[in-house]
Structure formats: C-alpha cells, structure tokens
Subunit: 304 residues, 2 copies
C-alpha cells in the first residue's frame, strides 16, 4: 500500500535528450493517474516500468503542445495492446476535438471507450473522486488558461483493535460503521465509544501539481497544509524578466508559495532547457523553504 509520484519528465517547452516534457504518474494504493502527457510519455512509462493499462484517468492541464503531444501515442498504443477498460481524459475544452480529428483522419477505431471531461478554468473544484480520494483543479496564472491539480486522500477508515473484537463480541455487520468512526452498542445496551475500540485514524495525504504558472497568491489558501507540492520553476531569479514575460515562476517564487501555504515538502521542476544543471534552483529555494528537493526524470516521491 503506497502513495507515490513518479516524475516522467520535468523539462519545459523544448525537450532535450535528458530533459523530458512534462508528465507524472501518481499511484495512490494502486490507482494510477497520469498528470500531463508530453511527447514521448509512452516511452517514459516503459522506462519507469509503469504499465500503461493501469492508468484509467489522465489529466491534461492546458493546450501547449509540450503537455499533451504524447496523448495520441498513448491512446493508440494501449489500443494496440488490446485495452478494453474505458479511459477518462480530463482536459481543456478543445482537447477532445484534437484527439478525435486525429483518430478520424488516421482511420482509427479504438478497442475501448474514450471519455473526455472538459475542464473549465474558474477557481478550484473537485473534478474526480473515488472512495479513497478526490482530485480538484487549481487556478493557475499563465499565458493561456491553465489548471493545476490537487489530489487529496479522503479520511481513512480506522483500524479496530483486535482484542476489542473478541472482548465485545463485535459482529461483522457492525465493523464498517466502527471503522468509519461510529460507536458500538453491545447486546446488553452499553455504548462503547469509538476511541476505545480503534487505533488513531491513519493520516490522509495530499499532493499538488502546479505547472505552468507565474507566482500567484490565489494558490496559497488552496495549498494549505498540502504534503507535497510540485511547483514549476522554469527560471532562476537572474531571469526574472523572462519569467514575467512568459508567465512562469522562478525557484524563489516556488519557495515563497510553499512557505506561505505551509506545505510539508516542495519539489521543483519544469526547468528551462537553457539550464544544463539544476543545483542553482535548489540553492535559490532553500533559504526561503528548507524542505525543497529537485525533481528530475525518474524521480519517485514517496508520500508513504
């Protein structure tokens, strides 16, 4: 049982041999989500030994080519590999048109159902949820409309102390409600408070993915207490003018947001191809936010 993020790519618009376009896989207890799908994502999935077919939801943030160019490749390959499970793609209005036009002109049909969910760009809202977690979009500040994503685990069920099961002869039918925090009433009418029956509830974790965006304080309340924040840092402060012109962040910007939102850890990424090494990004962020790490291709961030 785990919650981990695998960075497939954290380059920016022009990829290089080592710096791949943006894509990440988030695995929460064997539910796999793909955030962005830059050119070459299918090969990076292979390189990181992540099975294509396990991914049932993909989230695309905006329609700059570096964030969705790999989508058709993945859609086609999983078809060729015999997929039958439906695939949901969450992305900006227009993404569906692009994909369907390509499929039509290439005379392709798919062996599985492909469902598009068009995302708006106004504020934050839950766009997906299952029993364990929810995913919300976050409003970013970029040259074109762009969403970030916030994945939050729901409160977890409590574990019942084994000795109490026998001591109070708890029937199976009552277990689920106790795990959800309910008290238990014995056959002879006594109410046993939940906290006597259970261990403390395991912590629920959260992960936020914010790229591409300029520094924007609108994010701060939305990122409150998030465990891990991936925030783009396309530039260093020395190129503040370029960051401003292209509506991207510097490493310092990312650290300021992390600090003001009180997140637990900051991951930097989306480095401009002009930087051959990334150590300076860390040097710039650390004085402002101590628990900062550098994202890189193949990096796995384990929340638990």
């Amino acid at each position: 049982v785990k919650f981990e993020v695998t960075i497939l790519g954290c380059g920016s618009a022009t990829p290089t041999i080592t710096r791949k376009p943006t894509a990440q896989v988030v695995n929460v207890r064997e539910h796999y989500f793909l955030f962005d799908c830059g050119e070459g994502t299918q090969v990076e999935l292979r390189r990181n030994n992540i099975k294509f077919q396990r991914i049932n939801q993909k989230f695309i943030r905006h329609l700059h080519g570096d964030h969705f160019s790999g989508l058709l490749g993945v859609i086609s390959s999983i078809h060729l590999l015999g997929r039958t499970t439906p695939l949901q793609v969450f992305g900006p209005p227009g993404l569906e048109d692009i994909v369907l036009l390509q499929l039509k002109l290439s005379h392709s049909y798919l062996s599985y159902a492909l469902e598009f969910v068009a995302l708006e760009f106004d504020g934050s809202q839950i766009i997906y949820e299952n029993e364990q977690l929810s995913i919300s979009r976050l409003p970013l500040k970029h040259s074109v409309p762009c969403n970030g994503f916030l994945l939050r685990e729901k409160p977890k069920q409590k574990n019942i102390l084994k000795e109490k099961l026998t001591a109070y002869q708890i029937p199976i039918a009552a277990i689920s409600s106790i795990k959800d925090g309910g008290d238990f009433t014995t056959e002879d009418g006594r109410t046993i408070p939940n906290k006597e029956l259970t261990k403390e509830r395991a912590k629920s974790y959260s992960y936020a993915f914010c790229s591409d965006t300029a520094y924007t304080e609108h994010l701060i309340p939305l990122l409150k207490d998030v465990d891990v924040l991936y925030h783009e840092s396309t530039f260093l402060e020395a190129m503040r003018d370029r960051a401003k012109a292209t509506k991207h962040s510097t490493a310092k910007d990312a650290a300021e947001i992390a600090s003001k939102a009180g997140v637990k850890q900051l991951v930097l990424g989306h480095y401009s191809a002009r930087y051959k090494t990334t150590e300076e990004f860390l040097e710039e962020a650390l004085p402002i936010f101590e628990n900062t790490i550098l994202g890189h291709e193949g990096k796995v961030i384990r929340l638990y």
Copy 2:
C-alpha cells in the same frame, strides 16, 4: 559534399525505449529533408546532432499517429528557437487541419511561415525539386492511403579539365554551358567536342523510402536501379498471416522487391516491437538479396 541518410527511428506502431518511431533525415549536399516525424523526433534530432533549423522540408507519409505525432513538437520548438525561414510540410490532406487546430487551441503563433502541401495517393509524381534533386511520391499498399518517397539527384555538372581551360583559352562565360555538356567553339571557329574538354560526369545517386506497405510489385519499375532502398520489414515470414492482415511486409518481401527492382542496397526497418533482436530479419533477406543491411536508431547510410 555528401549524400547521407540518418535513421532516427525504425520501430513500428508501439515504440520502446530503444526502438523509436519512424523518422529519417536525408542530407544531400547540405540540404536536409525529414521523412516522417514520429513522436519524439525532436529529441532524436538532438541525439544525432542534427540542427533542427537546417531542415526546410518535411515529408509525412500517412496519418497513422506513429508517423506524425512528433510534428507539432518540432514545429513548436523551432519557433521557440527563433526560426524565421519558412517550413514546408508535405503530407496527406488533413495533416494541415490537425496542426492548425492544435496551434489554434493552444493560442500559438509561429515566428515563421508554415506551408502545407497536400499529397494525393495516385501513382508516382514529382512533389518537390530544387537545382540538385527531385523528390517523388511512390504509391504504397497499406491499410490507409500511404505514400513512399523517392529522392533522385539530377544529372551533375561535368568538371572541365584544367589544362583545356588554358589550351583553348575558354572564357568564363562559356564554362557553365560546357559543364552542362555543351561543346565549345573557339574564336577561330573550331568546335571542340564536350568529351574532349571534361571529365566523365559524376554519378547521380538515388534513395527510396518505402514504409508502411505490403509487398506490391507496382513499386518495381519505379525503384529501378535505385542506389539505396529503405523498405519496411515489420514481420518475419513466420508471421506472414499477421503481415497480410495488417498490410505490412516481411523481410523476405522487402528482399524480393529489392532483387526484382535491381537496387544496389537494401536497408530493413520498421520492425514490430515483438522482436527483441533483428538478426533474423537479415538472415531471412540475405539469401534473396545479398546487399542487405539492418536499419537501426542512429545508423547513418552514406551514399557518398
């Protein structure tokens, strides 16, 4: 001065870590042409140290995603790198719609002129020429309409023998016509035949690119005496049924075409991802056509 083909990718529909989607760069005397542009082509151009900006013509054979998915990436990256030289893209009708829709929805403008030339699929015809060469399309036999390409150098100018320049006092104004094969008339009215003035004309070379296609004898007269033929071999004979169903060739098919057309050299490629190694492709082709070599990523085929 050279004529060489660099194979960026010779995998088929599902790329792997080592097998890249189809793309080739042909360099004829520093004119660069890109044949196909599979996902990840821009990274493979970098890996092979080929400058993006030197390519002014791209040729796309058909609209299966594995042959054009990298196009938007290249188009965007050369814009970001400041291109101003126009780019011509030759491809099936519909390719322009796909690219323009993506550019529109991503709010992109380009710093250079992008010109599309829609290619039909009926027979062979010259689609591009400059002073040195012509490029024709070739009719292939595939599950969707698909072209191959044939690049032929034009007859080269002859080199004038230096001692004749002084012996006959040939003026500069007369040189070009002699190089083109003309005779020379001296001031006193004598006609000097061209063959006395010049070395033998240097050979003009040709290269054909045929993928994706089933075995089709329509190609044979069109490929007559071609110097190098790249012919797909997606399968081995053991999977003849699969080759037939998907309208692809086996290594034996490719060798038969090479042999019947009398080409000088055959290059195999477009191997199905199911084959981990490619030696068997060579073993199957060699008994039928001796001068066969295996294409692979990064392979450079030098015609001169």
